[in-house]
Amino acid sequence: MKNKKDNNFSNEHKAYLRKERNKKIIITVSRILILVLILGIWELCAQAKAIDPFITSSPSRVIKTIGDLYKNGTLFYHIGITLAETIAGFVIAVVFGYAVAVVLWWSDSVHKVLEPYIVVLNSLPKIALGPLIIIWIGTGYTAIIFMTVIVSVIVCIMNMLAGFIAVDKTKVTLMKSMGANKLTTLRKLIMPATLPALMNTLKVAVGLAWIGSIMGEYIVSKAGLGYLIVYGGQVFKLDLVMTATFILCVLAGGMYGIIAVIEKRFNK
């Protein structure tokens, strides 16, 4: 591949590069423009009383609420709690899910026996377990982390298992022909070959972990962003609801971004 700084390109190629660059700029500008437009219209409508900011809140009120939360010292407290619950649940779900997928890959009989249970657990709306979780585990952080885990673990299992099974049969035969046992095949072939599937699983699981932790906080919490949303809704402080939602957007996007960066590094 030629160096980008190489100035020996033909004019045609230079024009092509310029076109590609312009396309990229247009996309980025459009993205920012949409956000600015939405926030702008929202703010203007609220200022002009075209919509009732008591119900819809407004960007300036959200910023003010963030400032208030920061001043009374609870901003990072709530963020920290939700973040910790989500990350803990996410890590447990991924590690446990990966381990279960390995067991199911290892033993075809175990896989066949457990398959219907996995299918049912996958389709079950996990929120139905809310009351049971409260009674069995209590109302602390563990209940929320447990909720986060059950929401995201099944997809981890199914995604990873599908990845393991889809590994090129020729390569499996090759390992067998070299006399490799299951553990060696797992370590030398299956695990490295399914790294892209793992990255994909992480991306899906992180989204589900947020659903799990916020859902958990809706049911039992005394603190956290989900708690702020529920509390704000109950006392009709829509500014608080909007603010917590906004912070959630930023955090969830950030976590997804981190995983996307890790993925890029691995796929190099």
């Binding site: 390569k171 022909s177 060696t184 030398k188 072939l189």
Partner: protein, 241 residues
């Protein structure tokens, strides 16, 4: 040495049982390059699996003169997440013989056969022919005594195929290895082998055995010999095509 003695192999599916190989006997002497040809679906891969001990025969006996087996498959099956060098080390790791001496030997082998500049590269940067050469060096790195080749050229285009064919035969002869090749390609079998075993359709039995002795042993010279087309005709008739 590898010897098939009255081997019968039957495989079972829910639909019923199929006898893939029946009463099959032939011998591969040390240092010999033997090809087994037969119509498609006659159980050629089964024969290799039996030879390598991946399958146990229903009756009869496979006598192996000791030593290790190396398998070369239809597709190169190189691991794209490993460099060429690390791919070549794979059998050493699997067989727990990953010592500095073995690694050095493997690298020397790779360098001898023109892979020196590619060792640190990814297999994805190599051409199909080069990839198959890496696959062969990988097979050889654990120093097997008998090579099993399962139509290793069938995934290549015609031009590359001729090149790789000559290439692989040269390396195997150069390293004085015993080889058992299964293929459905008559000219490939004649060009490469010391002996050709012709099989019938399923259940596979030996129809005929031919020693191929003309030419100077290189596939290229063989193809130019007048005997080449005569032998081809004989084998073609025996296969019934």
């Amino acid at each position: 040495m590898l010897k098939f003695e009255n081997i019968t192999y039957t495989y079972h599916t829910k639909e019923g049982e199929t006898t893939a190989v029946k009463d099959l006997s032939f011998t591969v002497e040390d240092g010999q390059f033997v090809s087994v040809i037969g119509p498609s679906g006659c159980g050629k891969t089964t024969i290799l699996s039996l030879a390598a001990g991946l399958l146990a025969p229903s009756s009869g006996e496979v006598i192996r003169g000791g030593g290790e087996f190396g398998y070369m498959l239809q597709r190169d099956a190189l691991f794209p997440w490993r460099s060429v060098e690390k791919n070549i080390f794979l059998p050493l790791e699997v067989k727990k013989r990953n010592t500095p001496e073995m690694r050095e030997k493997a690298i020397a082998l790779a360098e001898k056969y023109g892979l020196k500049d590619f060792l640190k590269k990814s297999p994805n940067q190599l051409s199909g022919g080069m990839r198959q050469r890496v696959a062969l060096i990988r097979t050889l790195s654990a120093e097997p005594d008998i090579l099993m080749l399962d139509e290793p050229f069938s995934a290549l285009d015609y031009q590359t195929r001729l090149e790789v064919c000559d290439d692989v035969q040269g390396i195997i002869k150069g390293e004085k290895k015993t080889a058992l090749l299964v293929t459905h390609d008559i000219s490939e079998a004649i060009a490469l082998s010391d002996k050709v075993v012709v099989l019938s359709a399923r259940p596979a039995r030996v129809v005929a055995e031919h020693m191929i002795e003309f030419g100077d042993g290189s596939p290229k010279k063989r193809r130019e010999c007048p005997e080449f087309s005569q032998t081809f005709e004989i084998l073609r008739k025996e296969l019934g095509i």
